[in-house]
């Protein structure tokens, strides 16, 4: 267990749609300041898990705690960046960034004057390297720039956790790589807690200080019949090599072995591990199986 156990705490969480189980008894604990990436095959429920954390959906069973508090509908403590539609098209870049401060400000902080808000938004604009684009509308920016605005827009509120749903999924490979570097640098400065969902293994291994694999490809003692309504579990929990602000790490053997390993464990429908044998090496990792699951 880390020094701050249970910053984000997910306990025995299930999510089912119309009786079909998507997330199956998820247990997860994330420390403050962790850059937690989640990968998994399409349709495994990565985004569902993310929506549960942000509060856009409610778990069918189980509890989700942020700093020991049960999470409710989306609020100011949790920031979000989507793949698209994170920005408000009718506001300029600067207005998008300052929106949160103008709406009501950060929780617990005193009311800011217009000048203070402007100064802070301008500082954020510089941090995301868009200083000269403040007066443009989102549609006048490239995809990568738009996502940087979306990140700045969330970060200015200093959320407890920044939740990101495939934020670079629509970008071309070059832009994507630059955005990854940008995000790592930002994370090193701010040390915010990040929960980052992606379908790109390389991205997940490069960015994360912790890498979770969510997958429906596993077995347990519930058998294999049609009647078994099995959803995805966290089937692996890694601590990737220390993140460095360089793409060179992507060429190392260690990095590539990790990716090959994840691909087999999480993405191969024919490679089925037993729920008791998941690769949950991370120190924060924990799993409670039901009697049916572990015989």
């Amino acid at each position: 267990m880390s020094s701050q156990p249970g910053f984000l705490h997910i306990i025995d969480v299930y999510k089912a749609y119309n009786g079909k189980v998507i997330l199956d008894n998820i247990d997860l604990q994330v420390s403050r300041g962790e850059f937690c990436t989640v990968v998994g095959p399409s349709g495994c429920g990565k985004s569902t898990l993310l929506r549960l954390i942000i509060g856009a959906e409610v778990p069918t069973a189980g509890r989700i705690l942020l700093e020991q508090q049960s999470v409710g509908p989306p609020d100011i403590h949790r920031g979000i960046v989507f793949q698209k539609y994170s920005l408000f098209p009718h506001l300029t870049v600067l207005d998008n960034i300052s929106l949160g401060l103008r709406l009501g400000g950060r929780p617990g902080s005193k009311e800011m004057s217009g000048k203070e808000i402007y100064e802070e938004a301008t500082a954020m604009l510089e941090k995301i390297r868009l200083a000269e684009h403040g007066n443009k509308y989102p549609h006048e920016l490239s995809g990568g720039m738009q996502q940087r605005v979306a990140i700045g827009q969330s970060l200015i509120m200093k959320p407890k956790i920044l939740v990101m749903d495939e934020p670079f999924g629509a970008l071309d490979p070059n832009t994507r790589e630059n955005m990854q570097l940008f995000l790592v640098e930002l994370w090193e400065q701010e040390k915010m807690t990040v929960f980052f969902v992606t379908h790109d293994l390389e991205e997940a291994a490069f960015l994360g200080t912790r890498l979770l694999v969510l997958s429906q490809y596993y077995v347990d003692d519930r058998g294999n019949g049609r009647q078994v309504n099995r959803g995805a579990k966290i089937t692996a929990d890694y601590q990737p090599p220390a993140t460095v602000s360089s793409k060179a790490v992507k060429q190392t053997r260690e990095f590539n072995e990790l990716i090959a390993c994840i691909r087999r464990e999480g993405f191969d429908p024919d490679f089925l591990q037993h729920a008791e044998e998941f690769n949950l090496k991370h120190p924060d990792s924990f799993q409670t199986l039901t009697r049916e699951e572990s015989g």
């Binding site: 979000i80 994170s86 098209p89 929106l99 709406l103 929780p107 509308y137 989102p138 509120m157």
Partner: protein, 287 residues
């Protein structure tokens, strides 16, 4: 690209087919053409009728129409001491603008709240859908009975005639906003009130302008209908008044004038849209 002399690149056709590229100048010619044809047909028909009967009133000559306009627009009426056409225009425009303005404001508030809040949607959407199905002209007698034959009934008719459609359009526009925006706004600390009036409302404003543009035609229809039945001034009143004397030399210029007014209003709204909502067209709105 290799261009061999045997196979020159084929130019797209100027007019025929789905690949046609009419070009700028040719497009203008094409646009003028139907107007020119109409004018020629009219002038010819008018000429033929006048040759047969010098006193023909049905298809007046251009000179007769200009004389009528001169009389109606630029000479003080002997009985009332006012310029009739100006008077009529002001009376009609006042009714039209008040009716349309009230309808737009009501529809914006209703559509926004129905679209955003499921409870209000459950309570009001079936009702608005029902109201929208009532043919407005069928309730005109009721309006005259309850509001009298003065301004109120005419304004209410315009209002009733167009607000349901605009409301439904705004509701759809709110529905179409990506759901991510609601989540995002909540994470930035927006209250529900702020969400509705600071995030959603500005985004549906351009849609409101578009809906009003499309509704202006109906608004004119209801205005003219109401004026035709009971009024003492107004463009519609005048047209139906002089109809008794077969005064086509007045009716035709009035119709052209109404058309021109409608065109100007449409143009103004389009320009407001372009100036104040530059992001709208870029995000999939109509050009």
């Amino acid at each position: 690209m290799d261009k061999s002399p045997e196979q020159p690149t084929r130019k797209p056709p100027r007019f025929f087919g789905i690949h046609a590229r009419p070009g700028k100048a040719f497009s203008i010619v094409l646009a003028i053409l139907p107007f020119a044809v109409l004018l020629i047909v009219y002038l010819t028909a008018s000429e033929i009728r006048h040759r047969e009967n010098e006193a023909d009133k049905l298809l007046p000559k251009i000179s007769q129409m200009t004389a009528a306009v001169q009389h109606m627009a630029f000479e003080k009426n002997r009985r009332t001491g006012t310029y009739l056409m100006l008077n009529d225009t002001l009376a009609s425009m006042k009714r039209l603008l008040i009716g349309t303005g009230l309808a737009a404001a009501t529809a914006l508030l209703l559509g926004l709240n129905i679209g955003l809040f499921p409870g209000i949607n459950a309570a009001l959407n079936p009702f608005i859908t029902f109201i929208a199905m009532i043919p407005p002209l069928s309730v005109l007698p009721i309006l005259f009975i309850s509001f009298g034959v003065d301004e109120a009934a005419k304004i209410v008719l315009i209002f009733l005639g167009i607000f349901p459609l605009i409301t439904r359009d705004i509701r759809l526009a709110v529905h179409k906003l990506p759901h991510e925006q609601l989540t995002k706004a909540a994470t930035l600390g927006a209250s529900q009130f702020q969400l509705a009036y600071r995030i959603i409302l500005p985004q549906v404003m351009p849609r409101l302008i578009e809906a009003v543009r499309l509704s202006l035609g109906s608004a004119w229809l209801f205005l003219i209908a109401a004026e035709a039945i009971a009024a003492s001034s107004g463009l519609g009143y005048r047209i139906f008044l002089v109809r008794r004397y077969l005064a086509m030399d007045v009716i035709l210029p009035y119709v052209l004038w109404i058309t021109f007014l409608g065109f100007v209003m449409d143009w103004l709204l389009r320009h407001i849209m372009r100036c104040f909502y530059p992001w709208y067209a870029a995000n999939g709105g109509h050009k």
